[in-house]
Amino acid sequence: MDAVFLAFILMLSIFLGFELIAKVPATLHTPLMSAANAISGITIVGAIVAAGANYSGSATFLGFLAVAFAMINVVGGYMVTNRMLAMFKKKDTTTPAAGVTK
């Protein structure tokens, strides 16, 4: 693909990223960061090609390592984000505060 064309995509994506994330509330900073972290594991796509395309023995090995590392990033990142987000709850007004025995 044309390098200029790719650079064009890069420019647009960066602006889009700024627009998307600029107004995220502080409460969500950690989950957002860890989700973004998982997305950076997208490099797995390149790793898969490198591991499967038979460029050479060394390239396959490098690709294999890359797949493993990227997969840690992807699976771990999404699962941990999900775990965190599951904890965020809005105040439940239907049940009174527990443990009041005064």
């Binding site: 889009l16 994330i21 690709g63 105040k91």
Partner: protein, 456 residues
């Protein structure tokens, strides 16, 4: 599938990533957002498997199984309090993966010899990926306190860093003119990028860690982006730059919250240079029973948590006390400083883990104007973010940093293990304030004591 068809499906994947990130911006839709983004990832991975270039699947499957297994176990096992170092580790593995992808791209001679431009992007992905990897590992070490987390500054640091950087640039130029897997310049780039990552994180101390974590997060995206250029893959570029941008925004928010420039955070070795005006005075200790009596009479209480709450694992008892106070007719809020803890939003996650509803968490700018109407501010393991010296003492290393003005509350309880200065070694005049009472001891035990009083 042809490259064309694969690229077409990447567009769907990119749209889902964007949509997912957008939904991650609000607590109500965040879970769905994360799910969408995960689906986008699965689509991207699956469609890549159908890429016509791929002939052999065994290494791919093996890598996926190993990596997926390690990631899943780590994500399941990790304690919420150790989340910062876990994020650092995941980040590091993304970085090294981008380095390896760039490296492997050197072996792809299907489109003829490597062009200068491709060599340059390979150079970038190796450099940024390597820095992210070693920097993240060091950050992990510092965060998990496996190594000394203080800022390390030595005399010739800038000189050494400059020399490393110059060598990297030189090696990069040599490599671009003669890209080869066996070139000495390339090996040099790999080694020096790893060294440079270490050097970059070394001068940054524990309290500045939120900045480093978000910056490394940004780097891992940029590394993926560079790898995307190296292998002509647009989904890598789109997703990588989204991550890069988000990391930069978070970094910026963290820097603003400390009123310091990024350069200052990265190079100054916080707390290592300036010494604040010595504050002297007498602290007024208080015991649990008296603290209980004051809290029981209060009609508005604000908890101000810091890293110490994470260390003491006190979030659950804090929530319990908060609920008891509410049952007592008291208005309870939690005031969160943007850089409290060791990563952006650290305190929010811990309190969420303890079932504190997120609408009770108040940001610094919203709580400060009404601090005077707060009867009791309870500071739990926070120090710098409530240090009035940041407002008043021009000699203080944290002068100018916005703080939560707990000293303006009617009464302040400071929970502290003993009378030492906090992480950055800054003296805190808050401790000597007329309206301040020190509750010495382990934060968790102290609060449990008060909770027990309430229940009697």
């Amino acid at each position: 599938m042809s490259v064309q068809a694969v690229n077409l499906i990447y567009i769907i994947s990119a749209a889902l990533f964007i949509f997912g990130l957008k939904q991650l911006g609000s607590p109500a839709t965040a879970v769905r957002g994360n799910m969408l983004s995960a689906i986008a990832m699965v689509i991207a991975i699956v469609v890549t498997l159908f890429n016509e270039q791929i002939g052999d699947y065994k290494w791919i499957i093996l890598g996926c199984l190993i990596g997926g297994g390690v990631g899943a176990v780590a994500a399941k096992k990790v304690e919420m309090t150790s989340m910062p170092e876990m994020v650092a580790l995941f980040n590091g593995s993304g970085g090294i993966a981008s380095l390896l992808v760039g490296w492997a791209a050197l072996y792809d001679l299907s489109g003829g010899p490597i062009s200068g431009f491709t060599a340059f992007t390979i150079f970038l992905s190796v450099l940024i990926g390597g820095m992210t990897f070693s920097g993240s590992l060091l950050a992990y070490g510092k965060l998990s306190e496996k190594i000394d987390s203080a800022a390390k500054v030595f005399n010739a640091q800038r000189l050494v860093n400059g020399a490393i950087l110059a060598t990297i640039v030189l090696a990069g130029i040599m490599f671009c003119f003669n890209p080869s897997t066996t070139s000495f310049a390339f090996i040099l780039i790999i080694v020096l990028s790893l060294v440079f990552g270490v050097m970059a994180v070394l001068p940054i101390g524990g309290a500045d860690m939120p900045v480093v974590i978000s910056l490394l997060n940004s780097y891992s995206g940029l590394a993926a982006c560079a790898a995307g250029f190296a292998i002509d893959n647009n989904i890598l570029i789109v997703a990588g730059s989204l991550v890069g941008a988000s990391g930069i925004i978070l970094t910026n928010i963290m820097c603003k919250a400390m009123n310091r420039s990024l350069a200052n955070v990265l190079f100054s070795g916080f707390g290592a240079t300036k010494t604040a005006t010595k504050v002297e005075g007498e602290v007024k200790p208080i015991v649990g029973e008296d603290a209980y009596l004051i809290l029981e009479a209060a009609s508005s209480v604000t908890f101000v948590p810091g890293y110490g709450m994470a260390v003491a694992q006190a979030q659950h008892v804090v929530r319990e006390l908060g609920e008891l106070l509410e049952g007592n007719g008291c208005e309870v809020t939690y005031a969160i400083h943007p850089v409290a803890g060791r990563m952006p939003g650290h305190m929010n996650v811990l309190l969420a883990e303890a079932n504190v509803p997120y609408d009770q968490l108040i940001e610094m700018d919203d709580i400060n104007p009404r601090m005077e109407s707060v009867d009791v501010a309870v500071v739990i393991g926070a120090n710098d973010v409530v240090n009035p010296a940041a407002r008043e003492d021009e000699n203080s290393p944290i002068y100018g940093m916005p703080i939560i003005d707990v000293d303006k509350a009617q009464t302040v309880f400071v929970l502290k293990r003993s009378m030492g200065s906090g992480f950055s070694g800054v003296d805190n005049p808050l401790f000597f304030g007329d309206n301040t009472r020190m509750l010495f001891g382990d934060a968790k035990e102290s609060i449990s004591g008060i909770v027990a009083e309430f229940k009697n």
